[in-house]
Symmetry: C2
């Protein structure tokens, strides 16, 4: 019976009918005895329509004016949702980012939230109103309209939940929760009831695009319990929370993968201080982001250096690397676009040994060759040939018994 913040994305408010359905969900939550704050995105298609208008004038419009333009999208939704709530007998009041004082820095189009003044919202909630807030937008200390960047409505919702000390922040989306892996690859994939913030961050950054990474970080930082659930189906969704809150005893939460990477290797580089910088400096100067980096132990006086980049950047990175390797006197440059990164994610890794070897064994049994390995505290990533993606995901899903209701025994 506490305060709930609910966020509905563009698809969930994509038509008048859907806005009316959202109003019903909101009212039902209120009738359960909760105070409800709703954060909404622009109706799906609206942001693209506005961008298209701007691009008819200028391909790179001034960010300040772009924010003025795009922020109208959510403003339309908040008004319509309030009308739909009124229609079914719920009191509701709308607020733009500026009105509710979502204070941000002045980095137009990618502003960061500095603070929220919750006084007015609290007053409305106490008066029994549903408070409907425009996501994605804020205001700087000069009164200029800012936006948080695409998907920023998740961040707005989490920030509101933090500012109001909400019981839970519910992100309604078009999936019904977070899965052990992509159900399109492994039909046995299971919806998780709970996942930790750290795991969610690893899953999100690896391509399970259920939530915006920034929103998850924000929620973790401010201890806001976050729940992902479906706008279109009933269900409890997945709660993203803290380890100490009675987590499942699972070691592994899921398997994420990323098909968008390519691998580059320089063989036989002199093993000297500064060699990593000599190789990656020019790549970074070309604004190419590097993901995994591996340097093998030197044998003679040379070493092998491998890294991955986004597949779109591969041709340019290869070009740069060939030039660099000439200067460094490297033996050879190799590249491979046909790879995928497969990652096992789980906080259980911290306290359980043997997970890496189980993983490698499972892949070996299927004859899958591992091209690169990289580990973090709660993640083991391997790069494999892309043709083995589905096979690899299913093998790991099976090996760690992710489809079952019980955690894998090891």
């Amino acid at each position: 019976m506490g305060l709930i913040v609910q966020k509905y994305g563009g698809t969930s408010v994509g038509s008048i009918e859907r806005i009316q359905a959202v109003a019903q969900k909101v009212k039902a939550t209120q009738e359960q005895g909760h105070q409800v704050v709703v954060v909404v995105s622009a109706m799906s298609g609206e942001t693209n329509r506005l961008i298209a208008l701007a691009h008819e004038i200028e391909t790179s419009p001034a960010p300040r004016e772009m924010d003025v333009l795009l922020s109208t999208g959510e403003q339309v939704t908040i008004a319509l949702l309030c009308m739909a709530l009124h229609k079914i007998g719920a009191d509701a009041r709308s607020y733009t980012g500026a009105q509710v004082q979502i204070l941000t820095d002045n980095a137009h189009s990618k502003a960061r939230i500095r603070g929220i003044d919750g006084i007015r919202v609290r007053g409305d909630l106490q008066a029994g109103h549903v408070v409907v807030i425009a996501g994605f937008q804020g205001v700087d200390d000069q009164g200029n309209i800012t936006t948080l960047g695409r998907g920023g409505s998740d961040t707005t919702a989490v920030a509101m939940a933090a500012a109001l000390n909400a019981q839970e922040c519910q992100i309604f989306t078009d999936v019904d929760g977070v899965y052990t892996t992509d159900p399109r690859v492994e039909p046995k994939a299971r919806k998780l009831d709970r996942i930790t913030f750290e795991e969610m961050l690893e899953m999100a950054s690896l391509g399970s695009k259920v939530l915006q990474i920034r929103a998850v970080e924000f929620a973790g930082k401010y201890n806001v319990p976050l729940r992902v659930l479906s706008s279109f189906e009933e269900g409890e969704g997945t709660l993203i929370t803290f380890e100490d809150e009675g987590m499942e005893d699972a070691k592994i939460s899921g398997i994420a993968f990323n098909r968008d990477e390519a691998k580059l290797t320089v063989l036989g580089v002199p093993d000297e201080p500064g060699v990593a910088y000599s190789i990656l400096g020019p790549v970074s100067n070309a604004n190419i982001e590097v993901d995994m980096i591996i340097q093998n132990i030197a044998e003679d006086d040379t070493t092998d250096f491998t890294f991955t980049v986004h597949r779109n950047d591969y041709p340019q990175a290869l070009e740069i690397l060939k030039e660099t390797s000439g200067i460094l006197g490297a033996r050879e440059v190799l590249g491979n676009e046909n790879i995928v990164k497969l990652s096992l994610v789980g906080v259980g890794m911290r306290s359980h040994s043997g997970i890496a070897s189980t993983m490698f064994e499972a892949l070996a049994k299927e004859g899958i060759n591992i091209l690169m390995i990289s580990t973090s505290e709660i993640k083991i990533s391997v790069v494999i040939d892309e043709k083995y993606l589905e096979l690899g995901v299913r093998a790991l899903h099976e090996a760690f018994d992710l489809a079952g209701n019980l955690p894998a025994e090891m």
Copy 2:
């Protein structure tokens, strides 16, 4: 070389191409050495699109939320116009009504402006920026978004001009100025170079819908010189100004007419105190607005009472009147829908006699019977059979030599 406020309506900013044309006009004004503040409406069609969305949910949505919804229309335009100005090398900054602090009362959908904080705008102008302001909208002292009602962008422009002490407020529209009468009725109608505020008010309220009446009143009250000119053609338009500023010596400025009225008469009402109220009270209680009212001098102990209403209200007014006349013991009730009101407007009437008789003579010559007469300080209105509208307008236009460049001699 002063400060000019320019207002462009929905048709003038109805497409990206037109917004770009407006940007050119604004830049040209700035290049003449002026500081320029631009007030814009929503792109034509946009307000209706938003209203239709709201009406899908609710036929009478909450005014507060309707204002949140509709105010997005101008917000889109200000951003796009700034982009178009940037594109052609003009510095420009946009402001919503709330940002520029157009403070209003809280009468949503028909708010009245209380004050404007011009500090930020002045700073921008001094820095060489064009300032682009969303018309039609403001903010109340609680931070709620308000709108001034349809056409309110004219009022915004005049209020900005008053607050900034502008040299001139230019209203760009789809006509090139104010005419002596409707050119579709009298092809010899002449564009006026100047007209007084009072005359403009009479012309506007009689159906020459060039400008919002409120904007004209506002401009008169705050001594803001107002100019009506075309978005699409070159020209000086019509300056609406004060009598003492070297007005043309014309006695008559123009002929306005109104086809939307109907006439009702009660014959043989007892000539007693309170009879006017007995007749008009029930009409007014039915929310029917009454325009002209005439009561003839009583002969026996009875009097005849005539008034006009909007033609849409005629059937209901007739119904009410029949009931009232029964109660009052009146002799007969008559009604006529086939009438028009023709008005001669001019500040010259104040100091020149004989205008009424010239008017009546001109109509008589054409065999036009006058059904009602009503006069004010700068206006003479007559009601005639609607079939004589064109003939009457042309006869008066000729009689007062309105087509010529010289005022009529009398």
